[in-house]
Symmetry: C2
Subunit: 458 residues, 2 copies
């Protein structure tokens, strides 16, 4: 039966792309209040596709953007698989760096000379959600998905899945499954489809430094008045030591070190640090010393400043001491760091290090622990075979430096592990201008999803 | 004759205010290319007022915003006085902090309970230019200004007088005078009108850090990819040491120290550091240790970050490593620091301290050396008497932490010294939202300007 399903998928290629383009035209930017209606519209768009595939679909409220929950007709005795994805996307800014509009999907050649669809969300995660929608549709046209399916597509992944934890808790019984499948990760490289066996966690904070009660003339007050921008850069600079380690007390206390076996396995992967630098256009990488690039990204915790706002930002000069300065700062975490503990350590360090004359406030923008797939996960063998069926290449085992906030909730609330089978490529520019998804990956990903259902049905 | 002039000024109070409000409605923001036409319109507005006063007026091109040059009928044997001011203003941002529109002047009570006109440029420098225009007008209505007057009102003071140096050089003969009078400074406090005997210099730089060739996902790349925002905060934080001193090699080499006599004189001034902190709403001042607030602001060089732009600045979270981060940084200089030498030392320090993996660029936004009025300046005694005539209070000798870029050019090109007789108050919020000029100061300043012409005619 899988062969018939794969044949359907091969025949539906143009339709799959057209549907994805429709999906990509909806600017479902979850972080922006201005786009709340677009997020809701996008949820209904997803729901409609799953209804066309004859699933039983509900668009459910969460207190934030709605989630889409869909089920096929469940049959006792079959395994139950929860397919998780998200329809929300990152903001598209800076707009001027996009070759075509972020919400006007266009197919053109990628840098490898093959076709890709360019738009915000092309691969993260609308394109990969599309792979599952199309795999489901094709199975339904060929006798039905051979296992009990629960599809859960949320609208807040890019803002830390703020309401999904409560939703999963509240709908624990309805979401009960044997395993979760997530396609929101990458292949290792073009020609190296992969299973991701670990993701990093995240704690995202905003720090706001206030000084004088008004903006001041930097001549008439400079040298005595506390300058929040001066203070902010000192606080932020204190977050790293000279060796590139994060300088927050207790930060590394709970970190699970990389094993010698992992180091060996990762060294054997076809990864070139020269090519990595060339791709980024930088002469050197920086980071924690004593670790390779893959180790730094996959298995070491980090701190990055994601945004700073201070003083005058227009053209030319303004001789001002701004009353306020702020920064968005995120830490990527690894097993077994506790996001709440890291948040408190960060905040305490900033408060301890702040000079007198300023006040410090914080805002929360999401938290998630890291996640490691158990080595003995029963789905791994089937996922390897599905990738081979979908891509015609063997699967590589990799990790991801990114975060999928909800996976630890699935483990805690539903008692299930996640399988990360993702179809993106490292050059897909996710969260950046000119995000894209290779059409080959869209097609092979759809085939892989279909094959994975067959494998997990066994 | 001065008494008749002062009587005219007293009678013209309402008209003076109405004219100033007209002047304030023109958004002559010199740093913004969008306001170039407004700057030109403002120059012509100033020219028109001086024409009404029967001066011979020219609006002259500079390559940037035009300058207004006006002369009365010069009489051989009389002293020639150059009156300098500027019609351009700082940008009004942040707009949301203004109680009334920055270019919709409104008269209301200030925090002292007396009337003030609120608008961008109210005191810096349109209100003080208005004092001179009205003093001239009133003299002209009473037999004419009793000395040879050259009025020079420029439109680029707030952007470092970028074209005025060349203009002065090119028009050296036409601008030849015995002394320059500038009203672009403050009184010491309400009830303490002042002569400013020194201004600080300025070097204003923009530093731009570039890293990866595109914005990156901070999960998939964080820990290895150079983050320009991380680098920028480290570079900026390195500009101060733990004692609050500026940490640029050679920065203090040429600094003229404060003399024991100056320290003594300044300690006797009615200045309360508690009141200074209360006015700013801060619990402590920060700055170079070992110096009082007045010493820090008047006679010690400083470094302030005036603006930072990096990464995502919208609401909520974006997990991004921005490709670029930049900051506007200015140094206030004291005698005898050389702005060009400080610029090069700053740039070299940033380049030396930058890690590999990023590139650094700089933009220039103005430079000016500090200026000290000679103790034996022959105009000082007359200025003291003029202030007493205008304000009914004795003059205090103070310095200003601000900068007036052109004064060193007047000295070099025209061989003349400057007298700073300013009418603002420290709580005027210059360069800040809700800038204002007390109506009492507008009136007493106009009287002082008129009296000063009589004094300098002697």
């Amino acid at each position: 039966m899988l062969n018939a399903v794969l044949a359907t998928i091969d025949q539906r290629k143009d339709q799959t792309l057209a549907l994805l383009e429709d999906f990509l035209r909806i600017p479902s930017i979850s972080t922006s209040p201005d786009h709340a209606a677009d997020c809701r519209r996008c949820a209904h768009w997803v729901a409609d596709q799953l209804k066309f595939a004859m699933l039983d679909v509900n668009v459910m409220e969460t207190g934030g953007h709605p989630v889409v929950v869909a089920k096929n007709r469940h049959v006792a005795g079959r395994p139950t698989v929860l397919v998780y994805g998200h329809y929300d996307v990152q903001p598209p800014e800076p707009l001027e760096l996009w070759t075509s509009g972020p919400f006007d999907p266009v197919v053109r050649k990628n840098s490898a000379g093959t076709d890709a669809v360019f738009a915000r969300g092309a691969v993260d995660d609308k394109g990969q959600v599309m792979c599952h929608i199309e795999a489901i549709t094709s199975w339904q046209a060929n006798g039905g998905v051979p296992l009990n399916l629960i599809v859960l597509i949320e609208g807040e992944e890019e803002i830390g899945s703020v309401h999904l934890g409560q939703f999963v808790h509240d709908h624990k019984r309805a979401l009960q499954a044997d395993v979760c499948v997530i396609s929101d990760t990458n292949q290792f490289a073009r020609g190296y489809p992969a299973i991701t066996t670990g993701t990093r966690g995240l704690i995202y904070q905003e720090i706001i430094v206030n000084g004088p009660n008004r903006d001041l003339h930097s001549g008439l007050f400079g040298g005595a008045a506390p300058n929040p921008a001066n203070v902010l850069v000192e606080l932020l600079a204190s977050l790293h030591d000279a060796s590139g380690r994060v300088n927050v007390p207790g930060f590394y206390d709970d970190v699970v070190p990389i094993t010698p076996a992992e180091r060996e396995a990762w060294k054997r992967l076809p990864f070139s640090e020269d090519a990595f630098r060339a791709d980024l256009g930088v002469s050197a990488t920086i980071g924690e010393s004593g670790y390779t690039v893959l180790e730094q990204i996959w298995a070491r915790p980090t701190c990055d400043i994601n945004g700073i706002t201070a003083g005058y930002q227009g053209p030319g000069a303004k001789t001002v001491i701004g009353a306020q300065a702020s920064a968005k700062v995120s830490f990527r975490l690894v097993a077994n760091q506790d996001p709440n503990k890291i948040r408190e350590a960060f905040r305490q360090a900033m408060l301890d290090r702040a000079p007198p004359g300023v006040t410090i406030k914080f805002l929360d923008h999401g938290a998630a622990p890291a996640y490691l797939v158990p080595d003995n996960h029963p789905g791994l063998a089937g996922a390897r075979r599905a990738i081979e069926a979908g891509f015609g290449k063997p699967a590589t085992l990799i990790r991801s430096g990114g975060s999928i906030p909800i996976v630890s909730t699935f483990k805690a609330e539903l008692g299930i592990e996640c399988l990360f089978v993702g179809f993106g490529l490292p050059d897909d520019c996710i969260h950046s201008p000119n995000e894209k998804f290779d059409l080959d990956c869209l097609h092979a990903g759809t085939r892989t999803a279909a094959a994975l259902y067959a494998e997990l049905a066994k």
